[in-house]
């Protein structure tokens, strides 16, 4: 993550010190604090930069802007230090508590609010600016406290020595120890606590703090308690964060009554969504998956006005559907309200789905697709079936002849269904089982597949309610597609020998043949 480039920081503390005052006790203690607060200060900056590149991608831009804002804010803080007067030690103690709380809360706040705020960048730069300002106050204040206790040349030499030593320490332990061992959230909380401890040590070491010592001790204890509680919650926020489950950093995780939603990011700006640990999409290549899901069916449907999408609460299939002006109404049925809410509200995800979940043509229903379909009375021109893979007996019911027969009754004459059907390369029998099950349910299936780098070879089945109603070159494709062309669509229907049709059972509720194939074939891949 380019830590080297980050270390260009630091021309702190423009606030020059005045002449040394009379000797006073414990300059060594204050100089030790310099090392600690320097370490903390650099760490907050590193955490914010890393987080920004995870959440927003494009690490060079994110680090550059985060560092710029941070350093500038430190300048603001340094300038503001001139307005602090009176009991400087008391100001310093206050400042350390404040830096500890804001710095400690920075990472949990950014992670926790990522999914819930309209504009994440405002939150990010606001927090970085606040933290920079506070950190910028620290060294000028310390110089002024120490100014009477050391000779000026000694003072400047020592303060900046400890400052830079602390920075080096931070720069080395951050990538080597803290990120791999603790993760970003706990690192922030831990170093926030260190700032608060500096406040506590200063409080106890100087006689002049006696009048307000008790009050501040209570404040410090409360702050440490808050940060400690944060560590406990961090476990939940980032249960899998730096574990072995996900390669990338977990930027959002939620356990809903239906599934566990995990969104990860990396420094390439690639977002990935996992449901119960299974990859649903990567922002790097999801366009391939969704163009292949939508366009082969839609290119031949100039009059397809009513569309049903089952699953697909990420709005990415809807995004592709909205490229067709003939589409008047899209009914989306996704089990999990947390899923559709996330993709309706989060700025980055809205950028990804082109705000499709806010389209006036769209109706979102959060319900179990099977239960919903059994009571639905409307009819559709095209139905996109984008369920999770048939990895358990419950989901297996959504791939059964019983389900497909129910679905067929919801089609207008000449209607089409497209079903995502796992990988014909990895799970060849599972894939062809879906094809054969659709055929046994009265559909006339057209199998096809596409290469999606994150998934590998991926299989779909286009199922016609009446045979011969679909043509591969039926009409023009929308402008701006990156994968689907008339040529790629025609290639999609060719299956090389290693994915060619194999005989299979039909998947029924009373045999769950598909789940068995799927388990056997995906089992070796540790799915």
């Amino acid at each position: 993550m380019g830590e080297g480039s980050v270390l260009t920081r630091r021309r702190r503390a423009r606030a020059a010190a005045a002449a040394p005052a009379e000797g006073a006790p414990r300059p060594a203690l204050l100089l030790g604090s310099v090392a600690v607060i320097a370490t903390c200060g650099l760490l907050y900056e590193l955490i914010a930069g890393t987080l920004a590149s995870y959440l927003l991608g494009d690490s060079v831009t994110q680090f550059s802007t985060v560092i710029g804002v941070y350093l500038f804010s430190m300048g603001v803080g340094s300038w503001l230090s001139r307005y602090l007067g009176g009991a400087l030690l008391r100001w310093f103690i206050r400042l350390e508590i404040l830096v500890g709380l804001v710095g400690g809360a920075s990472a949990p706040l950014l992670f926790g609010l990522f999914a819930h705020v309209g504009s994440f960048r405002v939150l990010l730069y606001g927090l970085v600016g606040l933290l920079g300002t506070l950190v910028g106050l620290e060294i000028p204040l310390l110089l002024r406290i120490l100014q009477g206790r050391l000779a000026f040349k000694e003072l400047v030499a020592r303060v900046f020595t400890f400052d830079y030593v602390g920075s080096l320490l931070a720069a080395v332990i951050f990538p080597l120890v803290l990120v791999p061992r603790l993760g970003l959230v706990r690192t922030a909380l831990l170093f926030g606590a260190l700032n608060v401890v500096v406040a506590g040590v200063s409080l106890l070491s100087f006689e002049e703090t006696r009048p307000y010592r008790r009050r501040y001790l209570a404040l410090i204890a409360l702050s440490l308690l808050a940060l400690g509680t944060g560590v406990g919650l961090a476990e939940r926020i980032q249960r899998y964060a730096e574990g072995e489950v996900f390669q990338d950093t977990v930027i959002y995780a939620q356990s809903t009554p239906y599934q566990r939603l995990v969104l990860t990011g990396n420094h390439r700006g690639e977002l990935r969504l996992f449901l119960n640990g299974n990859l649903q999409f990567s922002s790097a290549d999801e366009y391939r998956y969704h163009e292949a899901l939508v366009h082969p069916a839609m290119q031949d449907r100039p009059r397809a006005s009513r569309i049903l999408v089952l699953g697909g609460g990420d709005g990415l299939a809807v995004r592709e559907l909205l490229k067709y002006p003939q589409v008047q109404h899209i009914q989306l049925v996704d089990l999990d309200p947390a899923m559709t809410k996330l993709f309706r509200s989060n700025q980055l995800l809205r950028e990804l789905n082109h705000n499709s979940l806010h389209s006036p043509k769209l109706t979102i229903t959060n319900a179990d697709a099977y239960a919903w379909l059994r009571q639905d009375t409307a009819r559709y021109d095209v139905v996109l079936v984008d369920f999770p893979d048939p990895g358990n007996y419950s989901i297996g019911k959504l791939y059964s002849t019983a389900f497909y027969q129910t679905l067929r009754q919801r089609l207008r004459p000449g209607g089409l269904v497209v079903v995502q059907a796992t990988s014909p390369y990895v799970a060849r029998r599972a894939y062809w089982c879906v094809v054969h099950t659709l055929a046994a349910s009265g559909f006339s299936p057209v199998p096809y597949h596409a290469y999606v780098p994150s998934f590998g070879e991926w299989g779909y089945v286009l199922a016609q309610a009446q045979p011969g109603t679909w043509r591969p070159d039926g009409g023009p494709l929308p402008a701006g597609l990156r994968f689907a062309t008339p040529q790629t669509i025609s290639e999609m229907r060719r299956f090389p020998p290693d994915m060619a049709e194999v005989p299979t059972d039909i998947n029924q509720l009373n045999n769950q043949a598909l789940v068995r194939y799927f388990e056997e074939e995906w089992g070796p891949y540790g799915q």
């Binding site: 009554p257 239906y258 599934q259 089990l335 179990d368 697709a369 099977y370 239960a371 059994r374 369920f387 358990n392 007996y393 419950s394 989901i395 019911k397 959504l398 059964s400 002849t401 019983a402 027969q405 029924q508 509720l509 009373n510 045999n511 769950q512 789940v515």
Partner: protein, 548 residues
């Protein structure tokens, strides 16, 4: 609150009921399981009202009289089937059905909780014999059978009503294996013996007697009169097994389990004919399911009971009504005295023809000079548990039917197994336990009295102990337990019952040929198909008899 085991046993041994329960709990190791507060209550079929038959003087005299064309007494499957047949064969005639309970369905009762319906009794129908045109017609009308395959001619069933996969699992040697026939970790000689038995059944399934009829068929009265097979009714199944060198504990457990599940008693208490008929009479086939498939619904066979009721026309059904007297009148009617438990009044019903579809312990009170038929009914416990945690374990996941090897109970059904939804629920789970209580054939009344005297708390401890043996720690996750005790469960085909003289005699029309009996007690095998045909036979007799 949990009862400490010692205290429980002390209390339990104080009463007769306790002796029975202590014996059951005592058969399992360990202590009563830890548990939290459990909601629920103990119910049972209306034996209090039914038992007033024993004390007729307590019932009031008739205050009014009604003229009835066709009267059906009893709203179980037999009575409902008779009502449907009467409506089908003589739609112009009026039929009145009287039922003791608040609702019809008999053993095919069901309950429901916040999540799902669940059965209180009979809960599945094996694929019917494809030659059973009347039953298939009913199922087609009910939407269960959706058509016939043009190529094979085999029936096609509504897939949602076929038992979904995974259907059955057995906890054996600490592992949940697929299917109920013991396999995993079973020694080779035992497996060979099981295979030998199953091969014999396969032969018997196809075998016919000299009269050209199947040796074993449902309804059982269509079975061959073959002189070589009928004598099997005289010996016990256990004796027959010993005689044919079947000694494998695993096989014997599997057979005992099967018989207890259908008849309430093990191989030692049923006839060999019935024991073989149990397996060999199952020859249903379907176009879209294997022969061993079953049809089932969240509410169990209450689905079928409702379909029968629905197809039975608009004739009145009068619940909460006890018939306590039947008499032939001089003007060619049958006079029934019916006590309405709601109004506490008695009505004199004068009917042309009567279908008496009550269990024999009721019928014999109503029929003068009733033949000496003595059906054995084991008491049953059915418990619906609401459990907050997933009943997992190593091996096959939660299935429709979940059974523990060597358990005194019969296992549990996942009531939501047939739910049509695509997500895996996180609970709570709704599990229906079945338990046929051990019954001494020499003194069946003792077992029933014990069963009816036991308290909710005692039953609950029993069920939770069993649950904990299947899933250690799960008893603590039970939040509700609804219990139902059947004083009279299903009839057991004890030796001599099916082909003995008493059953033949009891099936004859009574009271001048105007009362036609219909009940599985008159078959000896309490399954839906028998009840369905009992009802039809009685209905045909009622319509075809000269007096009508």
């Amino acid at each position: 609150m949990s009862l400490p085991r010692r205290q429980f046993l002390t209390q339990a041994s104080a009463g007769l009921a306790g002796t029975l329960l202590a014996g059951l709990v005592g058969s399992v190791p360990g202590c009563a399981p830890a548990r939290s507060a459990v909601r629920g209550q103990l119910r049972g079929a209306g034996h209090a009202l039914g038992h007033r038959l024993r004390d007729l003087k307590s019932l009031p005299a008739a205050t009014r009289t009604e003229e009835i064309d066709l009267l059906i007494i009893g709203g179980g499957i037999s009575g409902l089937s008779a009502r449907r047949a009467l409506h089908e064969l003589a739609p112009a005639r009026q039929a009145l059905l009287l039922e003791l309970e608040p609702g019809v369905g008999g053993n095919a009762a069901s309950g429901h909780n916040a999540r799902t319906a669940y059965p209180w009794g009979a809960h599945y129908l094996p694929l019917p014999d494809e030659r059973d045109a009347e039953l298939l017609a009913f199922l087609q009308q009910a939407g269960v059978l959706t058509g016939y395959d043009p190529a094979t001619g085999l029936p096609h069933y509504d897939e949602t009503m076929l038992c979904h996969d995974p259907a059955e699992r057995l906890l054996l040697h600490g592992h949940w294996q697929a299917g109920l026939v013991p396999e995993v970790g079973v020694p080779a000689p035992d497996r060979a013996e099981i295979a030998r038995f199953l091969a014999l059944i396969e032969r018997l399934r196809r075998a016919t007697g000299p009269d050209g009829r199947d040796l074993f068929r449902l309804p059982l009265d269509l079975s061959s009169t073959d002189a070589a097979t009928r004598p099997l009714d005289a010996e016990t199944m256990a004796a027959w097994l010993a005689r044919h060198d079947y000694h494998s504990e695993y096989l014997r457990w599997y057979l005992d389990y099967s018989y207890r599940d259908d008849f309430g008693v093990p191989a030692a208490q049923i006839s060999a004919w019935a024991g073989l008929h149990y397996f060999a009479a199952r020859k249903g086939r379907a176009h879209n399911a294997p022969p061993d498939a079953v049809l089932t619904w969240p509410q169990g066979n209450h689905f079928l009971a409702e379909a029968l009721r629905h197809q039975g026309g608009a004739g009145e059904i009068r619940p909460n009504t006890l018939v306590f007297s039947l008499k032939e009148t001089t003007d060619g009617r049958v006079e029934a005295l019916a006590f309405d438990n709601a109004t506490q009044q008695t009505t004199r019903l004068r009917a042309r023809q009567v279908v008496l579809a009550t269990p024999w312990h009721v019928s014999r009170h109503l029929l003068p000079a009733a033949p000496a038929l003595a059906p054995l009914h084991a008491p049953w416990l059915v418990a619906n548990l609401t459990v907050d945690a997933y009943p997992g374990g190593t091996g096959q996941p939660l299935s429709w039917d979940n059974v523990r090897y060597d358990s005194p109970a019969l296992g549990y059904i996942d009531a939501e197994h047939q739910a049509l939804r695509g997500f895996e629920t996180e609970g709570p789970y709704s599990l229906t336990f079945y338990w046929a209580l051990p019954t001494d054939p020499a003194d069946p009344i003792a077992a029933r009295r014990h069963a009816l005297a036991s308290t909710y708390e005692q039953w609950l401890t029993l069920v939770l102990t069993e649950l904990d043996l299947m899933h250690p720690g799960l008893a603590a996750q039970v939040t509700a337990a609804e219990l139902w005790v059947w004083g009279h469960g299903m009839v057991a085909p004890t030796p001599g019952y099916v082909w003995g003289p008493a059953r033949a005699l009891a099936r004859q029309p009574h009271l001048g040929g105007r009362v036609h009996v219909a009940h599985t007690d008159l078959s000896g095998v309490s399954v839906f198909e028998e009840a369905f045909h009992q009802g039809r036979r009685a209905a045909r007799a009622a319509l075809g008899s000269p007096a009508s």
